[in-house]
Structure formats: C-alpha cells, structure tokens
Symmetry: C2
Subunit: 341 residues, 2 copies
Amino acid sequence: MEKYPNLSKLLVKYPPLVDSYMYRELLHGDPEYLYKASLHLLRAGGKRVRPVIVLSTARMLGGLEAEQIALPLAAGVELFHNFTLIHDDIMDKDTVRRGVPTVHVIYGEDTAILAGDLLFALSFKAITQSLEKGLSLEGSSRALEVLSEAAVRVSRGQAYDMRFEREEDVTYHDYLDMIYLKTGALIEASARLGAIAAEADRDTEEALGNYGAFVGVAFQIRDDILGVFGDPEKTGKPIYNDLRRGKKTILLLYALAHSSGEDRRVLESVAKGNAGEDEVREAAKIIEKTGALEYAMKLAKTYSDNAVAIIEDLEKTGEIVDEEAAAALKELARFVVERDK
Amino acid sequence: MEKYPNLSKLLVKYPPLVDSYMYRELLHGDPEYLYKASLHLLRAGGKRVRPVIVLSTARMLGGLEAEQIALPLAAGVELFHNFTLIHDDIMDKDTVRRGVPTVHVIYGEDTAILAGDLLFALSFKAITQSLEKGLSLEGSSRALEVLSEAAVRVSRGQAYDMRFEREEDVTYHDYLDMIYLKTGALIEASARLGAIAAEADRDTEEALGNYGAFVGVAFQIRDDILGVFGDPEKTGKPIYNDLRRGKKTILLLYALAHSSGEDRRVLESVAKGNAGEDEVREAAKIIEKTGALEYAMKLAKTYSDNAVAIIEDLEKTGEIVDEEAAAALKELARFVVERDK
C-alpha cells in the first residue's frame, strides 16, 4: 500500500470508526439470532470502500466537522452494501465470501433474507442519526433522496445481472449499464453523501457523484477480472464462479467477439451457463489468449482516470479544504483498478 | 359494509387514488420483469387498510390539504407492506395470497427477493415525493424516522414469528409482542404518517401512533382467527396454514392451556409443526371446543375499543377538522375485528 500514502492512512483510520459506530448505534437488538446473522459478513472483514469514500469526500469538502456529520451516513452505506451482499449471495447461490461461508449457508435462506431486510432498514435509520450530528434538514432530506434512488438502481442492476445470465445477446453497453446500476450507483451515492454532509452545493455534489460512478464502474470491472484471474486466497471468493454461472462479464463478451472455431464453441457453452468444470477452466485460458484481460484493464483505467480528473478539477476551484483527503480520493480511484483483493 | 357508512366512503375513494399514484409515480421502470413481479400482489387486490389509515388520519387532522400531502406517504406504506408480504411468503412457503399464486411461485424465489427489495426502496423514495406535495422538511425528516423505525420492528417481528414456530414455551405476552412488531408497528407508522402530513404536534402524533398500534394488534388477532375459522373463498388464503406450520397464535396458546389428555396431545403435536392433515383438522375442532375463539375475539375487541377511545379523546380537544374522517377511523377500529376477509 506504499503506492497510496494518503489513502492508506484513511483505510487505517476510518473502518474502525465506522464499525464501532455501526455496532454501537445500530446493530444491536432482539432477537439475537437475527442481529448475529446481520453482523456475520461485517465481522468477516471487507474493505469498507464505500464508507471511506463518504468520509473522505466529507472531509475534503468540509473538514473535520463534515467528517463527523458523515459518520452515520458512512455507516448507512456500509449497512446497505452488506444487505445487497446477503441477498445477492442467496440469488447467486454463492457459498463463500470474505473467506467465510455466506449468511444463508450458516443461518438458512429465510434468516438470510430477513437479515438483509434488517440491514436495509437500518441503513435508512442511519440517515436520521446524521441530524443529531448536526446535518441540516435539507441535507438529511437530500441524503434520503440519494440513498433511496441508489437503492432502486441497485435492485434494477441485480435484476439485469440475473437476466443477462440467461440471455444470449448482451452487448458491452448492456454490461456497462448493468454494472453502473449494480455497483456504480451505490458508490456514486457514497460520494454524494459525503458532499451532502459537507453541505456542498448541488454542482459539487453532482461532480462527486460522477467521481463515484466512475470509481464504481472501474471497481466492478476489476472485480470481474479478479473473478477469473485473481487469487482466491486474496479475494476470499472461489475462482471462476462467474464463468460457471455464465455471467456476461466484459471478459467473456470480449473473448466471444475475438475467438472462433473450437475456442468460440467453448466460450458459448460457458455463456449458456451450463459448462462443465473442464470447459470452465479451458474458457479462462481462452479468455487470456484473446487479450480480454488487457482490454478490460484499459477500460477500467479509463474510468479511473476520469474519476481522478474530477478531483483535479475541484482542486482548481478552491472548494477543497483538505488536500490530503483529495489526494486519498485520487489514490482510491487508482487503487480500485490495481488491487488484487 | 352498511355498518361502516363513513369508512365505506373512504374505502371506495382512497384505494384508487393510492393505486394510481403508485403506478404513475413509482412503479414503472426497467427491467420490466422485475417491475411486473413487484406489481403482482398489488394488482391481485388487497384492502389497502394502511393507506386508508394514512389518508384518513391526515384528513381528520389537516383536511383536504393534508390528505394531498399524505398521498405519497400512503403509497409508501402500501409498497412497504407489499414488500413484507412477498418476503414473508418466501419464508413461510405460502403459495396462495389474495386468491392468486404468490410472487415466488410465479417468478421464482430470486426474482421475488429482488421484487421485495425494489418495493422496500420505493417505499422510502415515496417519502421524498411528499416534499413536492408541500410537506415541510421537518415533516419529511420525521416521516423517515417513523418508517425506518417501523421497518426495523417489522423485521424483528418476522424473526420472532419464525422462531416461535420452533419454540415450545411461547407465552401470551411473547405472542402479543410479536404481533405488535410484525403487524402493529406498520399500522402505527401509518397513523403517525397521517399526523405528520397534517403537521400535527408530537403529542397528537403519539396518540395516533397508539391508535394505530391498537388497531394493528386487533387486526392481527382477527387475521389469526380467520386463519382457522375463516372462509378461504373470502380470505384468499388456504385455511389451517398457521396450524400446519405450528404457529403459536393466541388460539393455539389458549387451547393448549385449556385442554388435557388426548386433546392436549394433538395440540402439542400441532405446536411442534409436524402434525399430519388429520391432526390439523382435529386441532381446529379442539380449539373451537376450548372457547379459544371467544377468548381471542374478546381480546381483539379490547384493543379495538382502546383505539376507538383515542379518537374519542381527540374529538374532545377540538383538534379534529374533519368529523367524517374521525368517524371513519372509529369504524375502521371496529371493522378490523369484525371483518371476515
């Protein structure tokens, strides 16, 4: 992490703040088994990228005071994110995440559905707690707009993701749209919430929203890459799961468009979601051979560069009160495409 | 419905208003299959009791203007309610509701989970739309507090409900607590949201909250009665499902405490959730024999009377601007325990 000196500091500082806030203010109640199920993935780890974005953005635009106000909002997006992970794992039948069995594997599907619902509810409750920290009523109202709109988009994104598994002609455009909805929209909301905590004007919030959307899409492309070329020891997830399910990631789409003959037949079998283990492993090799990895990395890098440029533009306007937080956000935009976990 | 002249008028007027608002302002988008799944139960019917409470309360305290402002809030609670129905039906493995197959039966569990999540998101989005109708920022902020707190309670209630199916020593108190959380909390929130739309003071909101909680508990006791003694043609749900699952309703708890010998053995088998069809039918007869129906109706009536008394108290304070709405709310408190569907 020496490549990211400013981000590293915040990745050490913020996650414990957010965790202790979540555990203290939101995540205790009865019945105990429900709260334990809701806490399971949070306790298993995670990078807390979204709360780090909320808090860094707030700090960049409004200093320490805004960072304080943003804490419940940061907790809210992390709770929301964990709700989506629990429900997605049920739908995708994923059994391992963050190196541990998923919630539905341990607690059963019924409790997992409910644990997700509870986290969803708590994420909205968190917004109301920002008022006590000093957020204005306008800010709180805008935060609700932003989080509820993101929640709608994330549901739509997951619906497209599931449908694309069964669809034959998915385009690059469809894929990018889907990952914006599924992943980009909540990271966009995170950056917006940071701006809202700093009581930034709407133009600045929009700029930060674009930063978050770019970071989110870059993050998801890298996630899809790690799903095929990553080290499961580091990612905490089994390798090739996306291929097994016929997920139309950018890698598979590119490889399909740049292969023929037997290679293409193998990829088409994978795309149909009914390939055996041998074909899945073979497909990974074919994907590598087509240059899909380089193409996907270049695409992710473009989004990352766009995100960095937004922060650089803001630095010219004099709206930034904390340069280190700005540097951290630029580093984060690079980190999400360079990370290997 | 001639016993409820004022309520009848509002049960004709409000549901189409709420439905057209939901369909027009909230329930359209892509992908189509997700929105269709979300709409399925709404289209199948339903009494719209919760939105009727939101709108009647707003009208009672703030007249036509408050009723207008309350429309998005009324839509929000109905969307929220339908989210809980979809997820509960998955957890409870219920296959028929409102006389039609449940969402997960038609669309599969994955889409049903997601359709519920979308409705949940839209219920919070609805709050933000009240601002456009003229709700104050204070009101909108309070509405978020109320709905998010209710959402937490409803999740907790469902968790208790599921756990009680497997637990042996459930008390009347446990049962009443559980149905308050599962059903009472959202009806309480409905009445509070009506008061909030009317910009009522906090004491009045609290009084309406109590009204809603009483109505909600009475409603659920009657629901549990209809589950054993109702006509499936009217309720739209199969009979004896609660007995099949070993749900510790007030009927079963009372009958267990007032039976012995072979009767008690049959009820205990049902309470364990592993009784055959013959035992389930036998249990229904035993429950009737113990007088559990009369006991449960008396209990429901007590809650209903308490709810009526709250409106009568308000009538004495001069805070009520619409007497017909007040009369309708009193009728509704009686209707929920007298209804047969």
